[in-house]
Each structure stands twice: as structure tokens, then as C-alpha cells.
């Protein structure tokens, strides 16, 4: 090999290539600092980010929040998330689009299954606020909030409060079970009498009650709430 043919350019090319590899070797341990619960941007910042198209930003942020903590080749346990921050995110997403069910579904079905049951309170609080925006179309989320409160948090008082809120909504054409929900929870709490009263009131005041519903409620009273007359006799 003729050494004269090795020009300065060739030498510099190899030197800088070597330096680049050396630089990579030094910096390879500097990994990006991924956060599990991303920081919530301010409302004004969101306005800037949206560039006038809030719906597009909403879908992008939903995707971002759905995958938060699971990016960059990691998978984070739901116990590691900051649910206070998540709750703020849910409200922020509702500001961008409160018609969509995306945020509520993500909160209820994904973040709501955390094993840290106290964190579920954030989800329940959000779902209740989400329903307030349009009860006629969102009442189902209140039922889910009641479910989370009763079966995940195991707070029957909270579940009853939510069930009463659901039953009290002035929304026509809600299924009958939404009115019966407080009775189911009261029955589980042991207050059979109150549950029976609710069922009896529903049967007595609901016009055009389908025969199947009447039978169901009679059956429920008989088998779950007990016969009151027999109980009084026993006393």
C-alpha cells in the first residue's frame, strides 16, 4: 500500500469516525428520563399546542396518555402512576372534548383497574364530573363509577351515594336498573327495608312497567329482601 496516497481527508475521516464511536461509548449510559405520569400542561399551553384544532390535539393527547409509562421499551405497573396527575389529565382532556367517551373509557377500564384501590377514588371523582357535563348521554359512566366504588374501592357508602345520584338523574328513557341500583347496594349493605321501599316505590310509581320487570322485582323482594310480613310476625 502506497502510504503517500493516504490523504489528509482520509485520515480526518477515520479520526472523526473514531471520535464519534468514542463519544457514543461515553454517552451510551445517558438514557432519556421517561416519566410514568407525564406533567399536565396548562390550559394556555394546550391552546398553543392545538394550533386551532382542539380535536386533533385531543386525539394525540389521548394516545399519549393511554401509552404513558409504557413507552421507550418499558412497561409500568399501574401502582407507579400518580393518580392525582392522571385526574388532572382527565379534566384537561374533557376541556378539549367532553363529547367523546375516550377519556372516560380510558379512566374507567384502564386506569380504573389499578391494584392500589385508593387511587381508584381519583377515577371515580373524574367519572362523576364527566357525567355532569351531559347526563343524558353520559349517565352510564355513573353506573361504572358506582361499580368501581363498590367492588374496587369497597366503599359502599360512596357507591350508594353515586347510585342515588344516578337514580335521581332527570333523564328520560334510562333503563329501570339505574333506578333500582340504590336498592341493590342497600340490600348488600344490609338495609333490606330501605331496599324494599325503593323497589316498592318503583313498582308503584313507574307507568307502563313491563311484566318481566314486575316479576323480576317481586322475585328480588321475595328472595333477596325477605318477606316483611313474615319478619314482623317473627318479631
Amino acid at each position: 500500500m502506497n502510504i503517500k496516497k493516504i490523504s489528509l481527508t482520509n485520515i480526518l475521516l477515520f479520526v472523526f469516525l473514531f471520535l464519534q464511536i468514542a463519544f457514543w461509548n461515553i454517552t451510551k449510559e445517558k438514557k432519556p428520563e421517561w416519566t410514568v405520569s407525564p406533567e399536565v400542561p396548562s390550559a394556555r399551553m394546550v391552546n398553543v399546542m392545538a394550533l386551532g384544532d382542539n380535536q386533533f390535539l385531543f386525539r394525540i393527547l389521548c394516545f399519549y396518555l393511554q401509552n404513558a409509562g409504557d413507552s421507550g421499551g418499558r412497561f409500568s405497573s399501574l401502582t407507579k402512576y400518580d393518580y392525582s396527575a392522571l385526574e388532572e389529565w382527565f379534566y384537561l382532556l374533557d376541556e378539549l372534548d367532553s363529547k367523546s367517551n375516550y377519556t372516560a373509557a380510558m379512566a374507567a377500564y384502564y386506569y380504573g383497574v389499578t391494584p392500589k384501590t385508593e387511587d381508584v377514588r381519583h377515577v371515580v371523582r373524574y367519572l362523576r364530573s364527566h357525567v355532569d357535563k351531559n347526563p343524558a348521554k353520559k349517565w352510564r359512566w355513573l353506573a361504572h363509577a358506582a361499580y368501581l366504588a363498590k367492588h374496587r374501592i369497597k366503599d359502599e357508602k360512596l357507591a350508594l351515594e353515586i347510585a342515588k345520584e344516578l337514580a335521581g338523574l332527570d333523564v328520560p328513557n334510562m333503563p329501570l336498573w339505574t333506578r333500582q341500583m340504590p336498592a341493590f347496594i342497600l340490600s348488600d349493605m344490609g338495609d333490606k327495608e330501605a331496599a324494599r321501599t325503593i323497589m316498592t316505590v318503583i313498582m308503584g310509581t313507574t307507568p307502563d312497567l313491563p311484566e318481566t320487570e314486575v316479576r323480576f322485582m317481586q322475585n328480588y323482594i321475595k328472595h333477596h329482601l325477605g318477606d316483611l310480613k313474615q319478619k314482623e310476625k317473627a318479631k
Partner: protein
């Protein structure tokens, strides 16, 4: 006018503008489908919104880049001098170029809008409104691109100016809300008051492009009167073209 259109179309085909942007759009729409499919719920809505927003961006940036490089080439090759040496007024030069670029814009926007329709469950009036607003917006973008490239000459600078201006126009609602923000004159500094009016002044001069092409129309229905957008185009396109003609008339060749 027809010869300018023919010329611009030939250049667009030669530069593979249509092929390039449609391939890019195909990738973007594919990515939208993929991203939408990974959504927990409302998959079609997510895909449609991504596709709509991305197509809009591609059309806008594609047009700004194409127009800027085309006009730079006109300056560099002295074609602009040759054209203006003929008995053609500078105003008709600008208008014929705007009209020709607008045809290109429509030829780009219509297939893009049709492609977005495949992401929707049905063909609705709101979708037609959305598509129309994208076409209307592209007419303003063409005028903006032409104004920037004729005044700045160098393509890179005019692209940056065009993109910067376009971004500002998309902040229209933000500017309005900042300007509406109640400032207590007793407690605020002169700077706060100055900023409020400065932002109001900027907002006054900007077209409200944030009102165009809202992706929420694709899923929840359009809640805007299209005539409002038409009026904005009828005001802002002549404004930009007049500014471009004004600048061109002051230029010495």
C-alpha cells in the same frame, strides 16, 4: 392565464409534486390508520381525525414549498424579467400565478379529501363542509406562499416566513382569547396593557385559519357557516395579492 397554468402544471409534474405528496400522504394516512387502530375506543374517530389533520398539514406545507422554489427559479433564471418585459401588467402576472397555483392546490386537496372520506363510516354534509374548508384554506395558503416568495425571493427564507405566518394564523383563537382577557387597568403595568393591544393588533391582521378544517366536524358534525369562511377567503386572498403586487411594482429588474 392558460399558458401560465399550463407552465405551472408542467413544472409541478416535472418536479413530481403530485407523486411525491401523494406518496407522502399515503404513508401519513397509513400511519393514521395504525395509530387509530391502537386507540382503546372510538378507533374510527381517532383515525379520521389523524388523517384529516395530517392531510391538511401536507397540503399546506407542500404548497408553500413548491411555490417558494418555483418563484425562486423564476428569479434565478430571469424568467420573471422575460415575462414582465412582455405587455403584461404586474397585477395580471401575480393574479395569473395565483390562479394557476390554486388549480394545483385544488388538484392536491380534492384527492386528499376523498382519501380522508374512506376513514369515515358515511359521507356526510359535515364532511363536505370540511373538505370545502380545506380547499378554501389552500387558496389562502397559495396567496400567502406567492406573497412570501415574491417579496423574499430566496426559497428557504420564504418557506420559513410562510410557515411562521401560517402558524400564527392558526393561533387566531388564542390571540382573540388573550386580547379578551380582562386586564385591570388599576393593577396592570403599562407593559401588560401594551401587550394586550399589541396582540389585538396582530390578531386583527391575521386570517382566522383556525376556523377552517376543524377535524371535530368529521366526527361530531360541522358547526360553522361556510359562508363565513368564503368571506375570509374573499377578503384575505385579495389582500395578500394586492400586497404582492404592491411589492412587485416597487422592484427594479
Amino acid at each position: 392565464m392558460i399558458s401560465t397554468l399550463r407552465y405551472v402544471l408542467i413544472i409541478a409534474l416535472r418536479d413530481k409534486l403530485f407523486a411525491g405528496l401523494f406518496v407522502f400522504m399515503a404513508f401519513a394516512l397509513g400511519a393514521s390508520l395504525f395509530l387509530g387502530d391502537s386507540a382503546m375506543v372510538e378507533k374510527y374517530a381517532a383515525s379520521a381525525v389523524y388523517a384529516g389533520a395530517v392531510s391538511r398539514m401536507i397540503i399546506v406545507f407542500g404548497l408553500l414549498i413548491f411555490i417558494s422554489f418555483h418563484v425562486q427559479r423564476l428569479y434565478d433564471s430571469l424568467e420573471i424579467e422575460a415575462i414582465l418585459s412582455r405587455p403584461i401588467s404586474r397585477a395580471s402576472f401575480v393574479i395569473s400565478y395565483w390562479a394557476s397555483f390554486s388549480v394545483i392546490a385544488v388538484l392536491l386537496a380534492v384527492p386528499a379529501v376523498i382519501a380522508v372520506s374512506f376513514f369515515l363510516p358515511s359521507f356526510s354534509y359535515s364532511f363536505i363542509l370540511w373538505g370545502s374548508s380545506i380547499i378554501l384554506e389552500s387558496l389562502i395558503v397559495v396567496a400567502l406562499g406567492l406573497f412570501c416568495s415574491l417579496t423574499i425571493r430566496r426559497a428557504v427564507n420564504s418557506i420559513l416566513a410562510g410557515i411562521g405566518f401560517y402558524m400564527l394564523t392558526r393561533f387566531g383563537s388564542l390571540f382573540t382569547s388573550i386580547a379578551d382577557y380582562n386586564i385591570s387597568f388599576d393593577n396592570s403595568s403599562y407593559f401588560d396593557v401594551f401587550m394586550k393591544y399589541a396582540i389585538e393588533a396582530i390578531a386583527m391582521l391575521m386570517p382566522r385559519l383556525d376556523l377552517f378544517g376543524q377535524t371535530r366536524w368529521l366526527i361530531y358534525g360541522a358547526d360553522i357557516d361556510i359562508s363565513l369562511l368564503v368571506v375570509q377567503v374573499l377578503i384575505y386572498v385579495p389582500l395578500l395579492l394586492t400586497a404582492a403586487i404592491f411589492d412587485l411594482k416597487r422592484k427594479q429588474f
